[in-house]
């Protein structure tokens, strides 16, 4: 058997129960355990009032001011960030508008240049075509003339040869007009 006593200073000590009555001094029960003690009340009151007064006058306003300043700064930062973002967005929009106008201008210019080019090309083409046509007609005419001259030459030569052949065959010289007429009709017929 043993007995445990928690002494007033809080240490749990093991007290082996001696035979007979322990020599522990049994105090009377003292004041009621739930009665407030004046000294504890005074210390507690003093401590709390000091804490409250300092908190009210000095500590809390200082902390709160700091917190408000930081929240204000954060809010300001947010707002400035928003403003910066809006400005950047506006700049981007402006830039895009500029790009659009420049693009439109470039397109118009390209369109105009293309038109000019087209016109020039058509004109050049037309001129070249015209020149080719003239050259062609010229060459056609020249070749026609050359052919006509050649035909006359051939006709004369044929007439000459035929009249010579006829002279040799008949012994007299045929009339040049008749021979050339026959040759001409033959050659015209031979062309058919």
């Amino acid at each position: 058997m043993s007995r445990f006593i928690l002494h007033i200073d809080g240490a749990v000590v093991l007290v082996p129960q001696t035979s007979g009555d322990a020599e522990t001094v049994v105090e009377d029960k003292g004041p009621s355990p739930i009665a407030p003690e004046i000294k504890e009340l005074a210390w507690g009151a003093g401590a709390f009032i000091v804490l409250f007064a300092l908190m009210r006058i000095w500590l809390f306003p200082r902390l709160k001011k700091g917190m408000d300043a930081r929240y204000g700064k954060i809010r300001g930062d947010h707002e400035s960030a928003d403003a910066t973002r809006a400005a950047a967005n506006a700049e981007v929009a402006e830039y895009e508008a500029e790009i659009a106008t420049v693009k439109a201008q470039a397109a118009a210019r390209i369109e105009a240049a293309r038109g000019v080019l087209e016109a020039e090309r058509t004109a050049a083409l037309a001129e070249v075509n015209g020149r080719i046509a003239i050259r062609r007609t010229e060459s056609n005419a020249a070749s026609e003339a050359a052919r006509a001259a050649a035909a006359e030459h051939v006709q004369a030569a044929v007439a000459d040869v035929s009249s010579r052949a006829a002279e040799l065959a008949t012994g007299h010289k045929p009339q040049a007009a008749a021979v050339s007429g026959i040759v001409a009709s033959l050659m015209a017929g031979g062309h058919k």
């Binding site: 007033i8 809080g10 000294k39 210390w43 300092l54 908190m55 500590l59 809390f60 700091g66």
Partner: protein, 253 residues
């Protein structure tokens, strides 16, 4: 028969004076105030524009807790000027509760009637003063002769209201904090005693000594529970203070 003698309660919760009229409860109360002041002093001297860390973060969490979870829930925006009072109340009570579970101290200062009684009386003076300042003499007439109640019932309701406001509120406020902390303290003591008694039991039953692990587990569990209780009682005391002040400002509700 168990050879366990539970000591008289006065031996458990009354402490010797360290020097004249200054015992452990006084030490805890003074330490609570000093720690509270130190925390807010250090927190206030940190650069407020940087993100809060360490002590400053702790202090700001406390302020935000009081503002968002206590003042805004019970008093609304008008009550924000009560934040320093409620904050110091909460900090003081919490730091007085906390030694109940700290290994060396092992004594919640609020397990003695003195500090809860003083705080409850302080709150009582404040909320009655606020009521008189806001409503003048109407504070008492509205309390004793409440409008919106059938006339036949008014004396009864008025008496109940009067008793509730003047006597029961501070009484229950003090007793709630005191009895909760004392009950927790007694529970911890009981299981500590049981553990100790089983572990050091001089017995022939060899199975008895290992059984001391059971009350020890209970002790650990109850210590964790007391962490919660210490916080909760500080919270409840503070929020009830806020409710009482708000009710004194608007007694017609």
């Amino acid at each position: 028969m168990l050879g366990l003698k539970f000591p008289p309660i006065n031996e458990l919760i009354r402490w010797r004076d360290i020097f004249t009229n200054f015992n452990k409860v006084g030490v805890i109360a003074v330490a609570a105030a000093l720690i509270g002041i130190a925390v807010f002093l250090i927190a206030g001297s940190r650069d407020p524009l940087k993100a809060p860390t360490g002590v400053r973060n702790l202090a700001e969490t406390g302020v935000n807790f009081i503002e968002n979870d206590i003042v805004m829930q019970t008093m609304g925006k008008d009550g924000l000027r009560w934040t320093p009072f409620l904050l110091s109340l909460f900090v003081f009570i919490y730091l007085c509760n906390l030694p109940g579970i700290l290994p060396v101290l092992q004594m919640p200062a609020t397990a003695r009637m003195a500090i809860p009684l003083f705080l409850a009386l302080f709150v009582w003076v404040i909320y009655n003063a606020v009521g008189i300042r806001h409503n003048g003499i109407k504070y008492f007439t509205l309390m004793v002769w409440p409008p919106g109640v059938p006339v036949a019932m008014r004396p009864l309701v008025g008496l109940i209201e009067f008793l509730s406001n003047i006597i029961l509120r501070p009484f229950s406020l003090a007793v709630r904090l005191f009895a909760n902390m004392l009950a927790g303290h007694m529970l911890l003591i009981t299981f500590a005693f049981l553990t100790n008694a089983l572990f050091f039991a001089e017995t022939k039953q060899f199975a008895l000594k290992p059984m001391s692990i059971l009350p020890f587990f209970m002790l650990v569990f109850l210590t964790a529970f007391e962490v919660l209780v210490g916080f909760l009682q500080a919270y409840i005391f503070t929020i009830l203070t806020a409710v009482f002040i708000n009710a004194a400002q608007h007694p017609e509700h």
